[in-house]
């Protein structure tokens, strides 16, 4: 699927260009040909099962690993031949947010500022802004190795955004954060988004819906889905499905009536211990059910407690397009080409 220009994105300003990227680890193709273009204003959510090649791809984009083939360009600069120039444009939060444990956040950020070529007042203002954005104030003078997981992650984040880079690559930025911290990090990403090209890998599907303008699912080193979160949701079987909660005594009849509707493919029911039953009617691809179902409810005078249409579930799409661990193991064991 071709990348769809988002309203905030300017498709002509391609900040990250990835063409035919592959990475072989011995006989295993960790990344098997990835093409991506990310423009300013885009927040690309990178999804995939563990071991799908997300981190490896990010490591190649940032120049930590060399690609087996293919090329990566950051703001027009090739990561292999113009490594340093390209890396200046990137802010990178590696997996696990590594930092020098014996340093304090302040001395660590001073070091990063100096390496990035900031001195004196400029360095100070960059560091202060990064600290403010990641709310690091309470721990500035404590050794990083003594910090909680959430603070460590934020030190890594502060390091990545210190130079206000046009390209931001973050490997699981909210991993290990509590809900409040997650919310703060997502707000930070959303605030920065208009001026940057951002790639975020995550296991949290709700994160994609919360902050991403585009979602890319990769599996076994290949892109298997690419679109706006809404487009992916339309591929979910739950997209436009209608759920209603009503007394169990009425459920049998309601189930039959729903099932006989034209646009309904199937109806699932689950009884609850409180004497109520949840019925979910799944529509034919592209059909809208909610109007017909609510008309039916009115006509039949069912005692409905809840009635709603679902936007769809990314989890459905994720599971439909990626392979399960067991299948993956079988494929590798039989030597099948992934």
């Amino acid at each position: 699927m071709a990348p769809v220009p988002h309203e905030r994105a300017n498709p002509r300003v391609q900040m990250i260009e990835v063409e035919g990227l592959t990475k072989q680890f011995g006989p295993l193709a960790a990344v098997a040909g990835i093409d991506l273009r990310v423009g300013r204003g885009e927040v690309l959510g990178f999804l995939g099962p563990n071991g799908a090649g997300k981190s490896t791809t990010m490591k190649m984009i940032t120049g930590y690993l060399s690609a087996s083939s293919g090329r990566v360009r950051i703001c027009g600069q090739d990561i292999e031949s113009q490594t340093i120039a390209a890396q200046r444009q990137i802010g990178y939060l590696p997996e696990g947010a590594p930092a020098y444990g014996d340093m304090t956040p302040r001395s660590f950020l001073n070091f990063i500022a100096e390496v990035r070529g900031f001195y004196g007042a400029t360095a100070k203002s960059h560091i202060e802004r990064a600290i403010a954005n990641t709310e690091l104030d309470p721990v500035l003078e404590q050794p990083i190795e003594t910090l909680s997981k959430g603070f460590k992650r934020r030190v890594g984040l502060a390091q990545a955004i210190l130079h206000d880079p046009p390209v931001l690559i973050m490997d699981e930025p909210t991993d290990g954060l509590d809900p409040n911290q997650k919310h703060a990090v997502r707000r930070l990403i959303r605030d920065m988004a208009p001026k940057k090209a951002i790639i975020v890998s995550t296991h949290l599907l709700e994160e994609v819906e919360a902050i991403c303008t585009r979602a890319v699912i990769i599996d076994r080193g290949r892109i298997v889905a690419d679109g706006t979160p809404y487009e992916l949701l339309t591929r979910s079987r739950h997209h436009n499905a209608v759920s209603l909660l009503l007394p169990t005594v009425q459920a049998e009849l309601a189930w039959a009536r729903l099932k006989s509707m034209n646009d309904v493919v199937s109806v699932e029911q689950s009884a609850r211990p409180d004497g109520l039953t949840m019925l979910t009617a799944f529509p034919r691809q592209g059909a809208l059910l909610i109007e017909d179902v609510s008309a039916l409810v009115m006509a039949e005078h069912w005692d409905v407690r809840e009635l709603y249409a679902e936007p769809g579930r990314l989890e459905d799409v994720f599971r439909a397009v990626t392979t399960h661990d067991a299948a993956r193991a079988r494929a590798q064991a039989s030597g099948a080409n992934p």
Binding site: S66, Q87, Y92, P94, P98, M103, S107, F111, E114
Partner: protein, 244 residues
């Protein structure tokens, strides 16, 4: 600047942020004293020079310098900070040389702290301070050689114990390559020019020459080129890891 200076500074400060620096310096100074005064019979010799002091440097460095070098890259690899370091806009050579120079400067600090023995010998007699200075220069160069070897080996593994053990063995071979232990073995399997070449790699020979006060350019060149060679190997090893 290429980033070498901030790397050097960070690394050098890091030594003193952990107990490593203090443990190392205390053991270094203590062992130096013990070897010089008890095993080397410094007083009984009745000679106002530091030859017995310097004679034990290669053997102390053999164990202490790999202990400093082992963490240079293994630690970065183990903690994952190498990923951070290599994605910062610094060339690999600047990281390698910056870290190396920090470690070398640290051994320099330890060496400078042996000054009481220099004061002692000057108090007791009238030593040739030129010879002593040459000894210090030679010792510092030799430490640099051991360190370059250790750093390169550290770049090859994330396991510090392996880095330490392999470094000690390789450093040992360089130390004694002029001795019968190595040469007798080599003579059996290699022609004479190779035997001569190997024996010329001996740290003992080169350091011995410098510490007698004869600063021969060839000895200096030996240590400097050995350091350059192993730093180059270090850079290549780091680059190779990117491809693997």
């Amino acid at each position: 600047m290429s980033g070498l200076w901030p790397i050097f500074k960070r690394e050098f400060v890091a030594y003193f942020a952990t107990p490593l620096a203090y443990v190392f310096i205390v053991i270094f100074l203590f062992a130096m004293g013990a070897f010089t005064f008890y095993i080397g019979n410094f007083y009984q010799n009745g000679v106002a020079d530091l030859s017995v002091f310097f004679a034990y440097h290669p053997w102390l460095y053999l164990f202490l310098v790999p202990a400093i070098a082992m963490r240079l890259w293994s630690e970065e690899r183990r903690s994952g900070t190498i990923e951070l370091l290599l994605t910062l806009p610094i060339p690999v050579w600047a990281s390698v040389i910056g870290k190396y120079l920090a470690a070398w400067a640290f051994t320099g600090v330890a060496l400078v702290l042996t000054f009481p023995i220099w004061l002692t010998v000057n108090y007791l007699g009238n030593p040739d301070n030129g010879v002593i200075l040459a000894g210090y220069v030679g010792s510092f160069l030799m430490a640099g050689g051991y360190l370059a070897i250790g750093a390169a080996i550290s770049a090859a593994t994330s396991n510090q114990v392996i880095a330490f053990v392999v470094s000690v063995v390789v450093c040992f071979l360089f130390t004694v390559s002029g001795a019968p232990l190595v040469l007798d073995f080599v003579r059996v399997i290699a022609p004479l020019p190779i035997v001569t070449a190997i024996s010329s790699f001996s740290f003992l020979t080169h350091f011995g020459a410098i510490s007698t006060g004869v600063i021969d350019l060839r000895d200096i060149i030996f240590f400097v080129s050995l350091i350059a060679l192993f730093l180059a190997i270090n850079i290549v090893l780091i680059d190779l890891k990117k491809a693997s």
